[in-house]
């Protein structure tokens, strides 16, 4: 009987571990809780809610609008010498760029290239053409379904054999031409490919990931969070000492009560 009890306990523990692993991960794009190819669990960058006064701040694939107050904070951050990198391909960040007084805009589309070594025409190499700390020592980067960036000083440019595959058939369109996928205006950088930060791209661009070590991720608008309520609850508990203590108490009290009664 004893032996059976142990076996059941071990099976329950294993099942519990598997369940925990399952419910605390997600498949959402860019999520730091996503350990799959399209997550950012391996990015290892510090995430901040409060804006720092200096340094490099990264916003990855923002999915909610910025209030004028938030835009004001970011403008102040830029004016105080901080570098802001906005990585977006859907154009969600365009109102923020406008609010920051920038002429740069993200142009959503299906950029595709003939000069590629993958069958998918939207995975191709771009050339570093400008100076920026995050591209230091890099000549080319592999991009993953990027969007074009209009305006500013070009930092990343495609080959001239690039086209916007409007109908998505993967075949060259009417006109080829160089496109910019990353540009800067002062210390504001707009990157048309947030996919550069997902786990699957780390091995493709190791130097780029290496250059990001001092970068902070703005977590309020970045899509690195999750909509999974269980993960969010667990995260809240981890980050709220009082909640953690309460939970520990909830776990310990029944055990203590049980042993107390036994002794009596």
């Amino acid at each position: 009987m004893q032996r059976e009890a142990w076996v059941i306990l071990i099976i329950l523990l294993l099942a519990g571990a598997v369940t925990y692993a399952h419910i605390t991960t997600t498949t959402e794009d860019y999520s730091r809780h996503n350990i799959g190819w399209n997550g950012t669990s391996n990015l290892g960058l510090k995430e901040v809610e409060e804006l720092p006064t200096e340094g490099i701040l990264l916003i990855i694939a923002p999915d909610k609008p910025f209030t004028s107050e938030e835009a004001g904070y970011l403008r102040a951050f830029l004016e105080s010498g901080g570098t802001l990198i906005i990585a977006d391909k859907d154009g969600t960040a365009n109102p923020l760029l406008e609010a920051l007084g920038s002429a740069m805009r993200i142009q959503p589309g299906n950029l595709s290239s003939l000069e590629r070594d993958h069958v998918d025409p939207r995975i191709f190499r771009v050339h570093v053409t400008g100076n920026a700390t995050i591209f230091a020592g890099i000549e080319t980067l592999l991009v993953n379904h990027p969007a074009a960036v209009r305006g500013g000083e070009a930092l990343l440019e495609t080959s001239p054999l690039t086209w916007d595959d409007a109908d998505g058939d993967g075949r060259p369109g009417d006109t080829f031409g160089k496109r910019v996928v990353c540009a800067r205006e002062g210390n504001l950088i707009v990157l048309g490919d947030p996919g550069l930060f997902i786990n699957a791209m780390h091995n493709e661009n190791p130097e780029f990931i290496g250059n990001l070590q001092s970068v902070l991720i703005e977590r309020t608008h970045s899509r690195t969070g999750t909509k999974n309520p269980i993960i969010n609850t667990l995260t809240w508990i981890q980050e709220t000492p009082l909640a953690g203590a309460a939970l520990a108490a909830l776990a310990i009290l029944p055990v203590a009560y049980h042993f107390g009664r036994k002794r009596e």
Binding site: T27, D117, H118, D120, P172, F176, A200
Partner: protein, 527 residues
């Protein structure tokens, strides 16, 4: 769990595993990635890689082609025909490479495809210019030699005039392409200076023909050979009627009609000096084309007709020939006309190109052998010198099943299965109820039945006496226990005695009689 049930489960599991391994032994794909792309991006590690090909060579090649026009036109202008031949050969080679590259990269529908077509026309123009320029030099030399011979001089002047008109038309076409070529070159930041210079050089060569004509033939009477085209334009498959008349007595030989400087027809003159022939528009490029006729020393004026580009329709039907080979058939038509002898490219899986050609009915057929898997096939027509627009068929798919697994793993699996069955069966038979080894039966008859006297003995002692007697009768050692003896013979007797001896059971009178009978050898069936 009962042993039989567990064995059945085990055998079933073994069969299942062997079957799975057998199926995948030759194509060990036990896992294929799922969820490899989202709306935002794709997992590059799961996307098939491909050779970058020569895509990077496209723009440098365009630059070279533009440069070649400048070099070639200059050498023609300088009358350095030996080098011009070499330059033309190189230009032709580069153009061929570029044509193939454009088709391979599936860029025919782009501005690069347009550049390819303009370049091909430029190549034709410059090749013609080389021929015309060389012929003009010959005429200049001949004109000096035959001065004084009015007949020959006039013939040279006629040909010179035809040549002049032809070079003028040719230059006009060459110049027309400047806008488009410069625009496309501008898209790729290409240096168009050599190309611009080639136009200037071309103009100079054409002007030189004009100058010479003015200088030597200003008062030459009109040519006796006239030429008329009807209609002066058409599309692929249309017929142009070319006719004219020789004023005076026509020569005995037929007239010769040239289209783009190539002899196209040789109509004979009728009694009144008229000639007529037709020219069917076939594999010539869209745009203006030069026509003139000659009859002996006489050259007609130069006329032009325009070929209009037509749209085409290309079909594709796939039919399996065998497991790995697919037959691709289809037709190429423009309007209700079929297009004969046209090259067709079959694009397999967007990368591989296989070529075919239409027959006289515009039908093509090609068999392609493919590896296992799902394949897409599309037929494409790229113009290729026809006055026809590009077209492509619908994309068809063809599935080549996986190779049949090698019989070896199946044989090995069956052997393993049989072996397992044999082993399990053997194991099942080994336990307690397995028949005892049967040593050679002691010759009971030869041993005399011992005297039995158990009268008055307590039942258990009587049983012991009977045990000793039977053991002795069987010739077994006295060290053998009842269990040892039971393995040899009379198992029931010895097992009963074992219970009497060690379990303390007391035999009944009837049992003792039965045991006594066995000892006497009278109950052979009881053993």
């Amino acid at each position: 769990m009962r042993p039989r049930a567990s064995h059945i489960i085990l055998v079933a599991a073994v069969v299942l595993v062997i079957a799975i391994l057998g199926i995948h032994a030759t194509a060990p794909i036990l896992y294929s990635a799922e969820n490899i792309s989202t709306d935002a991006h794709a997992d590059p590690s799961t996307i098939k890689k491909r050779s970058p090909g020569d895509a990077a060579a496209v723009i440098p090649l365009m630059d070279e082609l533009l440069g070649e026009t400048g070099t070639l036109a200059l050498t023609i202008k300088l009358k350095d025909y030996e080098n011009a031949e070499r330059d033309l050969a190189r230009y032709t080679d580069l153009s061929g490479r570029f044509d193939r590259l454009v088709i391979t990269l599936d860029a025919s529908d782009t501005d690069i495809g347009e550049f390819q077509q303009k370049n091909r026309a430029n190549l034709d123009s410059l090749a013609t210019l080389l021929d015309d320029s060389r012929r003009l030099d010959d005429l200049k030399r001949l004109e000096i030699e035959v001065r004084g011979d009015e007949g020959q001089h006039t013939a040279i002047i006629y040909e010179g005039e035809a040549l002049r008109q032809k070079m003028r038309q040719s230059f006009s076409s060459y110049q027309e392409r400047e806008t488009a070529v410069t625009r496309i070159a501008g898209n790729y930041n290409l240096d168009t200076t050599p190309y611009q210079e080639s136009i200037e050089d071309f103009a100079e060569v054409a002007d030189a023909a004009d100058d010479w004509r003015k200088k030597v033939g200003g008062n030459t009477p009109p040519s006796p050979l006239s030429i008329t085209l009807s209609p002066t334009g058409g599309s692929y498959g249309d017929t142009i009627r070319i006719s004219g008349r020789y004023t005076g007595t026509p020569p005995d030989t037929p007239a010769e009609v040239y289209v783009d400087s190539r002899l196209a027809r040789s109509p004979v003159f009728d009694e009144s000096g008229h000639y007529t022939c037709t020219y069917r528009i076939g594999r010539i490029s869209a745009g203006p084309h030069i026509v003139y006729a000659t009859a002996g020393p006489a050259y007609s004026d130069v006329r032009t007709f325009t070929v209009f580009p037509g749209n085409t329709t290309l079909t594709l039907a796939l039919a399996g020939v065998n497991r790995t080979t697919v037959a691709c058939t289809g037709t190429l038509t423009t309007g209700n006309r079929s297009v004969a002898n046209a090259p067709i490219a079959l694009r397999v899986d967007t990368t591989m190109l296989v070529t075919a050609e239409t027959d006289g009915n515009g039908t093509y057929e090609k068999e392609i052998t493919l590896p296992a898997g799902e394949h897409t096939i599309r037929a494409e027509f790229h113009g290729a010198g026809f006055p026809l627009n590009l077209s492509e068929s619908e994309t068809g798919t063809f599935h080549v099943p996986d190779d049949l697994p090698s019989p070896l793993p199946l044989i090995a699996g069956i052997a393993a299965l049989l072996g397992t069955g044999w082993y399990l069966r053997r194991r099942q038979e080994t336990p307690d109820e397995a028949p005892p080894e049967t040593p050679p039966k002691p010759p009971e008859e030869e041993i005399e039945s011992p005297a039995i006297d158990i009268t008055g003995l307590p039942p258990r002692d009587a049983a012991t006496v009977l045990f000793h007697l039977l053991r002795a009768r069987l010739g077994l050692s006295e060290t053998k226990t009842p269990r040892d003896c039971a393995k040899v013979a009379h198992a029931r007797f010895f097992e009963r005695y074992e219970r009497i001896r060690y379990a303390g059971e007391v035999p009944t009178e009837e049992e003792l009689r039965w045991m006594e009978d066995i000892v006497r050898g009278e109950d052979a069936h009881a053993a």
